[in-house]
């Protein structure tokens, strides 16, 4: 493993977005992963529609909540073509699912993996390098007040409640950390990102890990 790796350095991660008062973190994390994995495979990097996932993923609850695993299962089963954010923009509330003609260009996934990597964070780092950014669910109660630095206290792994996207890791300093993209706007945390200590399953970051294949 390299000491530091961040998919942002490869220009395959879109800008941090803001879910506003919509509980759609599960959709932001999944769409972020699809965007990056497409770009890693050579497609142009573009913002895909989170609203499409919020409106159309019938096994979730839109802005009232959902699960990344259910969203990935739905994307995989239906082969839903995700259109761009400009074609189906984010509205921060639930809407009726809009359907597009089959001639509409979109992105579908070919599969996904979902594993518990607790006690195997080095393996998790290998998965990040191999597959692209990883969707994880964390206990983010203490993230309400986070301003910066490496989260290494006040973060239990009791109850995962917030979906985010890991884009990289940094082991160059005395405290190795995951680089985690959030969906609360770029004014939160470190330009919209959190740094979470590696190797201690901090916030339950290794308990629920998904990768997307396109």
């Amino acid at each position: 493993l390299p000491l530091r790796f961040d998919w942002r350095d490869k220009h395959v991660v879109t800008q941090v977005r803001n879910q506003q008062m919509c509980g759609g973190c599960w959709a932001f994390s999944v769409v972020g992963a699809v965007e990056s994995v497409c770009a890693i495979h050579g497609a142009p990097l573009k913002d895909l529609s989170v609203q499409q996932v919020i409106d159309c993923s019938y096994n979730n609850y839109g802005c009232q909540g959902g699960s990344p695993l259910s969203a990935l299962s739905w994307l995989n089963k239906t082969h839903m073509q995700l259109v761009t954010d400009s074609e189906y923009p984010f509205k921060a509330h639930n809407g009726l699912c809009r359907y597009f003609s089959s001639s509409q260009q979109g992105v579908s996934i070919k599969g996904y993996s979902a594993h518990d990597f607790s006690d195997q964070e080095d393996e998790m780092a290998k998965a990040l390098l191999t597959f692209g950014p990883l969707v994880v669910i964390v206990d983010a109660v203490s993230w309400q007040d986070y301003l910066g630095g490496i989260i290494q206290h006040h973060c239990s792994r009791g109850e995962p409640n917030h979906a985010v996207l890991i884009t990289g890791f940094d082991k160059t300093g005395s405290t190795p950390y995951w680089i985690v993209r959030n969906s609360w706007g770029s004014s939160w945390g470190v330009n919209g990102y959190a740094h979470v200590k590696m190797g201690a399953n901090m916030c339950g970051i290794a308990d629920s890990v998904s990768a997307v294949f396109v």
Binding site: P68, I137, D145, L147, G148, H153, T175, G185, W188
Partner: protein, 75 residues
């Protein structure tokens, strides 16, 4: 539909300041996180949780550990 009021937000903000003092009171190790006022400081933790922490947990199977196999009997 959110029950917002100036009084409630002020109370939540005061509670946030107390919480920041507690969160920042732990020994400051190298590069440890710091906590303070941000866009969520006017929310009580229960309100923050109800709005933003809406991901439902799922059971994930354990990642299979790498199996190292002996190849001594292979020609």
């Amino acid at each position: 539909s959110w029950p917002r009021s100036l009084g409630r937000e002020a109370a939540a903000f005061r509670e946030s300041l107390n919480r920041h003092r507690y969160l920042n009171s732990f020994p400051r190790e190298n590069a440890t996180a710091f906590y303070g006022i941000n866009q969520f400081s006017y929310l009580f933790p229960e309100d923050f949780r109800a709005i933003y922490l809406r991901s439902k947990p799922s059971r994930f199977p354990r990642h299979p550990p790498e199996v190292q196999m002996s190849i001594t009997n292979v020609s």
